[in-house]
Symmetry: C3
Subunit: 338 residues, 3 copies
């Protein structure tokens, strides 16, 4: 057994997070309620290996090899056939110029989404994350309500450039090769900006996505009826001390008659050793002459810190979708970082 304190001169760090909750879930349109133990009530569970080497002259080499997993049953990844290092698998160089990395890493849509809603990267309870990223009636991708943002939260085969911070402003430029022989026009491109200055935070992203992830199987076309998506997103947050407010707005358009507009509002209120969290998101979907479809998701919860790296939480969610029964969900969980 290996066990050691954080120290200098390191070449690799083993870290991760285990998040599991007991609850009963019913998303909009679900035929029945499903009670169970699930993974990732507040953060998708992960583990992995990271390291930084100081090369001198301000230059550093960095790598990340991290895996999502399901803390309730030990399954690799987030869904069937997800890859081993589904979270990160990249290596790069950082210096005064910023950082360049090669491999699998964050998509441009990810940080703006998770940093500008009070539930972070909860793929079970964050209204914004659910509408952006989690298709209803999974795994039958688009049979009820496909997620609005294409291309996954991580991109494979990617060159990513992160700028230095300019007074709190950083930008990330993303390019993913489609790796289709003789067809270099198939690729993903995107960028985001993040600005943090005292109580104020602002963000935006744009992407043009033609390639699915983590592997391009099934292709976007087969899965959702389109071959290209363009998306733009803006978000802001302000911390008043007694409460932090969040607001976002985004729009996706496609090479077919399909357009989503998503707006979200969030609130985080310090209370005792924890925070009361509340959030709402709605997506309006129009597809040609078909009637507009609206999804509305509302979550309230309380997240109580047992330590800097362990918290327990309780969440309540209501999920509505035009033409389907609404569903209520709740969960009681524990999240532990290591």
């Amino acid at each position: 057994a290996l066990a050691a304190p954080a120290m200098a001169q390191t070449s690799v760090t083993v870290s991760g997070l285990v998040d599991a909750f007991a609850g009963s879930m019913r998303y909009a349109g679900d035929a029945g309620r499903t009670a169970g133990v699930n993974s990732g009530g507040l953060t998708t569970s992960w583990f992995g290996f990271k390291g930084t080497e100081d090369l001198g002259g301000g230059l550093k080499a960095n790598f990340q090899l991290t895996s999502f997993f399901q803390a309730d049953n030990g399954v690799q990844g987030r869904f069937p056939n997800d890859t081993l290092f589904s979270r990160d698998a990249n290596v790069g160089l950082a210096g005064n110029f910023g950082e360049v990395s090669l491999g699998r890493g964050l998509a441009p849509n990810f940080l703006p989404m998770i940093l500008f809603n009070p539930f972070g990267d909860s793929f079970n309870f964050s209204p914004l994350v659910l509408q952006h990223q989690v298709p209803l009636l999974n795994p039958n991708f688009s049979t009820r309500f496909a997620s609005s943002v294409a291309g996954d939260t991580g991109w494979s085969n990617q060159i990513k450039y992160t700028t230095p911070s300019f007074g709190g402003l950083t930008a990330n430029l993303h390019y993913q090769f489609g790796e289709a022989a003789g067809n270099n026009g198939k690729n993903n491109v995107g960028a985001n900006v993040l600005y943090f200055n005292g109580p104020l935070s602002l963000t935006a992203f744009y992407h043009k996505v033609k390639v699915n992830n983590p592997l391009d199987t099934p292709t976007l076309q087969a899965a959702a009826g389109y071959a290209e998506q363009k998306a733009w997103f803006i978000g802001g947050g302000y911390d008043f001390g007694v409460a932090k407010l969040y607001a976002t707005y985004d729009k996706t358009t496609h090479d077919v008659a399909l357009e989503d507009k998503t707006a979200s509002l969030g609130l985080s209120v310090p209370f005792g050793a924890g925070k009361i969290l509340a959030g709402y998101a709605q997506t309006k979907r129009s597809a040609g002459a078909a009637p507009e479809v609206k999804r509305q998701t509302t979550t309230v919860g309380y997240d109580y810190a047992l330590s800097k790296r362990t918290d327990v939480y309780a969440m309540l969610m209501n999920d509505k979708l035009t033409g389907f029964d609404a569903g209520n969900s709740f969960g009681l969980g524990i999240r532990h970082g290591f």
Copy 2:
């Protein structure tokens, strides 16, 4: 490369065990002998990550993420399509009240079985473990002799409660959600007790199993012709110094006409720097009007300790089953914990 001694202030421990042996195996009914290098002659090989955080006031957060693997060919898990963290994937809180954990962890049948036979958790040579857990003619589950205890040695989607120790007596309560939408009646429940006091040790477990593991695929019905199993088990051990004796008895019944009764005896005799091990188990299976089937397995071996965490062993086994040719197996292996 990271390498470090065991120390305090830790947040994660990397540990595991590699067990491989060269041998020639022929279980009852096998058409031929198979020579090879195999994994887990005495203990199923595993590796993983564990950690404990002291939260103050006697409260601790614990997590375990551990994987079975095959040390002979590097394959993940114990069998095809086993999961990544097939051994453990859970997080919980421990204190004066005992411990509550969420996720994948031990089934109630596991500790009573492995702590009350001299071969521990040998899925290759322990007569009791083979008859409880390893179907003959794997992977065609029940074509010759299905294992007698259902639901795997680990349960997913589980809430587990462990009591504090009351003078050497601890109990574990297990509940596994079946996570079938709109059908909360499908679940696994079980409990065990373990008592250790000087030379004497006693145990018992009970379970009612409707859900297969690690994932409910295939379902119990499809695999073995029943939808529910009830099992009870008792066991005892006594260490006379010159030898430790073990005895167990268990019975399983089902929602169809199928009943197994298994009895086992074991012996462990210190000899030199090692131990002579001997064990016998027999299972009588009755299924309605069909003639009773009896399986009898006998193993003798020697386990020699090279250090506290490395040993070498030699095993000889005879396996009989009503209506089939008996088989003899032997193995010579090394087990190394880290």
Copy 3:
């Protein structure tokens, strides 16, 4: 997070290597060019766990659990359905007598190949490695140009013996069980020798291969039309200081009318903080009355060391095959060990 310096008293080491490059690849016969980010430009990316325990009296217990992965997309292994610990999964004892290990480990063909060409174990740019190990038109194994050396670079279910060093000379003896029930004649056997003395290095290997790896699926027969391959290989290197030269020659024969002869030359020239690398390999394949087929691969590159464990590289390759269009490839990458 765990992070620690290399120290004594250890029981497990976490280590690995991440190698990713951006480039555009076109092997002989490819219909088009494929631009992308790929893994393992110079070394196949891997991570894993290793340990050594001093048992006293010169005896040591060793284990290795290491995994290949693809640093561009996070996929496990080197190709679809590769295993978790595809690189190594073994345990053994070492002492004055040498070392014996059980499990999955190096095949006899591996070290002679990678230590006697200037590109090491580059499965993307080393002419010798490509012709030995990487079939063209992967994954349709033999449709254009099957690799010449059978049985993978690692063998599962193996007993391996390594001699002590006799004045710079060591030998490895390899035996892999085929684990076919009732058919112990199906197995792999092989051996190699390695000699290092000042500027001179020499090597040879021989193998007779009947079992595919990492698992015997598909069998050799189904994949390439033969059931047995015999191979012998010789190689040498000499370091003149201003340049190191490499040369190899090998021949494979089969139980059908198929014979490959491969020759390679290599050059490594120190230049600045790096090395200029150049290599050429050609394989002549004769299959009965069919016209001889010749594959010729040439690579030049520059590998620049940023530190002892991080380098950046640029590679250019030309690949020709009788009857097909030649292809040119290039890559620019970074390799980082940890």
